[in-house]
């Protein structure tokens, strides 16, 4: 136990004297993550607002058939322009977001009281670019439809509500914290990624780097057991990663108090008491990452080789997020025991301000602890290999 503490202290001292490592872990990352999310969120909000508020330019095919409709649209901030020769190609080529085509029989049908045909040309595979425009147009056309329909009923002496057997109201039960957006979806992944590979530099330096600098062989000639040595290194890596995460979360909170509330989604701000819960949620991932990195670094022959595994490790915490994107599922208890997936769910719940039951904490932390012990055992076996120190 003494040796674990000795190794732990030495590795942290060594790490804190590495200016580049400290700069990246405690300054660059904590600044980059909040900036990225705040930037994304602001950008998203601004784009949405622009699309809703700006004058909509709408190319229309067959303008001459429906002058009244177009005049009505003009009073609702839509500027009608001439349509290109091939509307489908123009939309596909992204020169226009949507084009309205008015059927040549529109005026005739209108006068006869038959449904007059309109066609909206748009590309549903580009919801981010044209989704808001299309929704706005549909809303306007629906409103015109209802308005004229109601007038026709009134002209025939019928109350418009006769044609409205249902009145659908909706009540959104989301709390302000549970509103979801892109940036919030990214926060769990970024947190898990930082937790998992944030200690890369330290872990690699403490094992592969130690071997490269040729200081591992003398270390293994001391009475300290190899289990004690790796435990000290793993704990140092985990402590450093936690510190980096704490700095990131604090910066994240600070950043969102500076941004005016109407410029970003308020749901991104993390309440102070949630910080502690978030750290506890990701603790198993931090330890798992430190252990996996130490095992990998013991296995790799050099710094370079160890860092070659990084892309693979970055991919792991992404899996549950990807899974949830294609198959959004209800949280079930067993999921909390699955590494990354469980933490992902718990992070979202903490951010939404939901309560986490004691047995759920136990499940997540317990499953994490078991996995850490298993990988730790593997790392210890790797440390007992003769090739570890005797590379020459």
């Amino acid at each position: 136990m003494n040796a674990v503490w000795t190794v732990f202290r030495k590795e942290l001292l060594d790490a804190f004297r590495d200016r580049r490592m400290v700069l990246v872990a405690l300054v660059v990352m904590p600044l980059a993550v909040p900036l990225l999310l705040a930037g994304l969120s602001t950008l998203g909000m601004r784009k949405q607002a622009e699309q809703l508020e700006r004058t909509l330019e709408l190319p229309v095919v067959g303008r001459e058939h429906a002058p009244n409709l177009l005049a009505w649209l003009a009073t609702h901030d839509v500027r009608v322009i001439d349509a290109p020769a091939d509307p489908e190609a123009a939309v596909r080529g992204q020169r226009h977001e949507a084009i309205l085509r008015i059927s040549p029989s529109y005026a005739e049908d209108w006068r006869a009281g038959r449904p007059a045909s309109l066609e909206l040309v748009y590309d549903s595979s580009r919801p981010l670019q044209s989704g808001a425009t299309v929704a706005r147009l549909r809303g306007l056309l629906d409103a015109y439809d209802r308005e004229v329909g109601a007038l026709r009923l009134v002209a025939r002496g019928i109350h418009p509500s006769v044609a409205q057997p249902l009145r659908l109201g909706s009540r959104d039960v989301a709390t302000p914290e549970s509103r979801f957006d892109l940036a919030q979806q990214m926060l769990p992944y970024l947190l898990l990624l930082l937790a998992f590979v944030g200690g890369m530099q330290l872990a690699v330096d403490a094992t592969a780097g130690e071997r490269e600098r040729q200081s591992l062989e003398p270390l293994l000639a001391t009475p300290a057991s190899r289990e004690a040595i790796i435990s000290g290194k793993i704990l140092a890596t985990a402590a450093f990663t936690l510190l980096s995460l704490l700095a990131t979360l604090v910066m994240y909170r600070v950043a969102f108090t500076f941004v005016p509330e109407n410029r970003v989604d308020a749901s991104l701000a993390v309440p102070a008491d949630a910080l502690v819960k978030l750290l506890l949620v990701v603790l198993p991932v931090v330890l798992l990452g430190a252990t996996v990195l130490t095992a990998l670094a013991a296995f790799a022959r050099s710094h370079r080789e160890a860092q070659g595994y990084l892309p693979l490790l970055i991919f792991l915490p992404m899996l549950p997020t990807l899974y949830l994107m294609v198959a959004p599922v209800k949280t079930r208890a067993w999921m909390l025991a699955v590494p990354f997936l469980g933490q992902n769910q718990l992070i979202l719940r903490v951010l939404r301000g939901e309560r986490i039951a004691p047995f759920e904490w136990a499940l997540s932390l317990g499953a994490g602890a078991l996995l850490v012990v298993a990988v730790w055992w593997l790392a210890a076996r790797l440390y007992h290999r003769e090739q570890l120190a005797a590379s020459g």
Partner: protein
């Protein structure tokens, strides 16, 4: 006291199994400096690594003060001070911190570590570099720090793999003086070298190793006598059967 009995070790390589140590036996007594002399690749480093528990012998036995490394690795490591061929320091730590780290791993308390650091710094002439970071140390300063680190726990047996490798003349001279002091204190000093003059100048007993086997042993005088050569160098060449690997 170090006893080595019929030690054997082989490695799997791409071209097949290579026997690095092939039945090596010798004894290094307390109060003496024993030299393992042999060309590069003769099996000296592998032999030493089995002594300090980094490698397991395939067969044969090692006894350090009567303790078997296979049975009591921690006890053996406590009784050994080891300067391996790989002697890297932690560059961001000072010489003192490097030495103290190993002192704590040996279970020494801070007061004892301070006392040992002071004594070793005097003996090795490294007082002025104690509180400098190891980054930018010269080869000699690195070796001194590594030796102090290896001896911080005051071990009875001292193993040094090519201790004067890369050192200048003055540092080599002071290192030899230091090793003689260790001998005078009654310690068992075992060093390996491929430099004949080094072994001749320092060692009470020489064990000549070539291709994993002991090919000759004795005091420098005995070696000269037995081979009938006037110089130790010629005796050495005759003992290992060729002069390959001697031009380092």
């Amino acid at each position: 006291m170090i006893e080595v009995i019929e030690l054997r070790k082989s490695f799997a390589t791409r071209t097949g199994r290579v026997t690095a140590v092939d039945g090596v036996s010798f004894r290094a007594a307390d109060g003496e400096i024993t030299g393992l002399l042999g060309p590069n690749g003769a099996g000296k480093t592998t032999t030493l690594r089995m002594l300090y528990t980094l490698m397991q012998p395939e067969s044969g036995r090692v006894l350090i003060d009567g303790h078997d490394p296979a049975a009591r690795p921690d006890e053996v490591r406590r009784r050994l001070g080891v300067l391996p061929d790989a002697r890297g320091l932690y560059k961001r730590l000072t010489a003192r911190e490097n030495i103290a780290y190993f002192g704590r791993l040996h279970g020494l308390d801070p007061a004892r570590i301070d006392e040992r650091v002071a004594r070793l710094a005097d003996a090795l002439g490294m007082r002025e570099i104690l509180d400098r970071r190891a980054e930018g140390f010269s080869q000699g300063e690195r070796t001194k720090t590594a030796i102090a680190r290896a001896l911080v726990h005051d071990p009875r047996n001292v193993l040094l793999d090519e201790p004067t490798n890369g050192l200048d003349v003055m540092t080599t001279r002071s290192l030899r003086g230091f090793l003689r002091e260790l001998r005078a204190e009654g310690r068992c000093v075992l060093l390996s070298s491929h430099v004949m003059q080094e072994v001749a100048a320092l060692c009470d007993r020489i064990v000549v190793i070539a291709r994993g086997r002991v090919v000759a042993r004795g005091t420098p005088d005995e070696l000269r006598e037995r081979t009938g050569e006037a110089s130790l160098e010629d005796a050495f060449v005759r003992a290992i059967g060729s002069d390959e690997g001697l031009l380092a």
